[in-house]
Every structure is written in structure tokens, then in C-alpha cells.
Symmetry: C2
Subunit: 155 residues, 2 copies
């Protein structure tokens, strides 16, 4: 693996991760009605740390290969929408817009997985836990929106 | 130019642009002490619209070429930090953290420009206005931090 590529991709992931560090759940999130499958708060940073490492390894494996144009374009989409989701959800408390953002994120993660799989199956495999987690996060975002839409937005 | 690639990169830029639409300047920004070279508010969305189109065209030109690994990795860094800056600055009103974010953004834009230039000089050239604008934005962020650091953070 090209370690320079790994650390550049890890820096991109660090940009996305910074939103998680700076826009914390807090009182608003604690007081929301949440579905039964909601993981405890500590699970989120632990999971994302593992996922960001997987993303950086996958990127470092796939990027140096030939004909990576579409793969790396969709990769750019997923990292942008990954960075966007936290400020929209935890910053603006906008669960509806968050649902749109995480929907596009899900599609871009699935697209990157598909593209990576054809370039290097290990890179594709490294995106599987990411897709599983974004599926859970999408369901959680949907349920939070559904269960709380009748209530005024607490700020 | 590969139009599919153009629209995928434009979607990544749309992710970054959404922060600008959702985290507006508002009262806090209006009341800050700002340097003399601060552009009027309407300049920002106009400039970013042009820049995002340039970024998407540059990406669509460079991505299908050979040996684009490092270029596309640094491209991912710039789009993540571009998406990150607005929520940190306009969302959290954290001008100091904003300065760190825009510093890394500047380096990643310069790095992408350098990499793109070697792959396709037009793609590199399309990043020049972006680098110029981020230089101005960095100076503006720095001056806003410097001129207002003695004041309590208004929320």
C-alpha cells in the first residue's frame, strides 16, 4: 500500500471527522424520541474511527490503479456529504434535510463500493462496513425525523 | 470532456455549496469588525458558483487520465475541508478553528493545482481562481479573528 496516499486520504477523513468532534449531540439529541435500535452515544466515535481508517485504506489501494476516474469522482461525493451530514443534523437540528443528505451519502457510498470492487475487491470489501453503518444511520435519521416531526424544533 | 464525470464532481461541489446555503452570515457576521478589503455579501455566492463549476470541469478533465492517484487523493482533501469551513466559521462562529481549516484547505487546493497542472495544464489553470479566492478568504478569516479576538463570542 502507498502510505503517502493512505495519509492523504486519512486527512480527508479527518476533515469529515472534525464535524463529529465540533458538532456534539448534546441536550437536543438526548431529549429526542429515538427508535429502539439507537446505539449508545459512545458507539458513534468508535465506529467512525474504524470506518475512516477503512475508507483511507480503500482509497490508497484503489487510487493508484488505472481507469479510476468514476471511482474517485464518486469517492469525492461521499467524503463531501459525509462532512455535510453532521453540521446539518447536529448543528442545525434539521432532521429532514439530514435525511436528504444521508440519502445522497448512502448512494455515493454504494457507488464507490461498486466502483472499488471492480478495481480491487479488497478496496470494495473495506467499504462494506461503511455502507452497513450508513444504512443504520439512515434508518436512525428517518426514525428521529418521523418520531419528532410533530414537535417544535428545540434549539 | 466526460459529462458524467462533470456531473458527479458537480454533485460533490453541491455538497460543499449546501453549507453556504444553510449556514448564512447573519447578524453575528454583520456585527464583526472586518478589514477594508472585505467583499460585499453578494460576492460570495456568485464567486463560489463560478469556482464550483471550474472545480467540476477540472476534475472531469483530470480524473480519467493515467496516474491520478495523488491528484485525486488531494482533491478529496480539498472538497472535505471546503465543506467543513462554513459550518465551523458561520455555524459555530469559531474564527480560530476556521483559520486552521482554511489553512489546510489552502494547502490542499495548492496541492491539487500542482498535481492537476502536471496531468493537464487546463485542469491546473481552472484551479488558479480557486487558489486566489481561498487566499483572500484566508486573509479575511485571519483579519476577522485578529480584529475580534478581544471581544466575547456573540452567538
Amino acid at each position: 500500500m502507498d502510505w503517502t496516499l493512505f495519509f492523504i486520504f486519512l486527512l480527508a477523513c479527518a476533515g469529515a471527522a472534525t464535524t463529529g468532534a465540533m458538532f456534539q449531540p448534546g441536550k437536543w439529541y438526548d431529549e429526542l424520541r429515538k427508535p429502539g435500535f439507537t446505539p449508545p452515544n459512545w458507539v458513534f466515535p468508535v465506529t467512525w474511527t474504524v470506518l475512516y481508517i477503512c475508507i483511507a485504506v480503500a482509497g490508497a489501494r484503489a487510487a493508484p490503479l488505472d481507469t479510476t476516474g468514476h471511482a474517485m469522482a464518486i469517492f469525492a461525493v461521499q467524503i463531501a456529504f459525509n462532512t455535510l451530514w453532521t453540521p446539518v443534523f447536529f448543528g442545525l437540528h434539521n432532521t429532514k434535510a439530514g435525511l436528504v443528505v444521508i440519502g445522497i451519502l448512502w448512494l455515493s457510498v454504494a457507488g464507490t463500493l461498486w466502483q472499488f470492487w471492480q478495481l480491487d475487491w479488497i478496496a470494495g470489501l473495506l467499504f462494506v462496513p461503511y455502507l452497513v453503518w450508513v444504512t443504520i444511520a439512515f434508518a436512525l435519521n428517518f426514525e428521529v425525523w418521523r418520531l419528532n416531526r410533530a414537535r417544535p424544533i428545540a434549539t
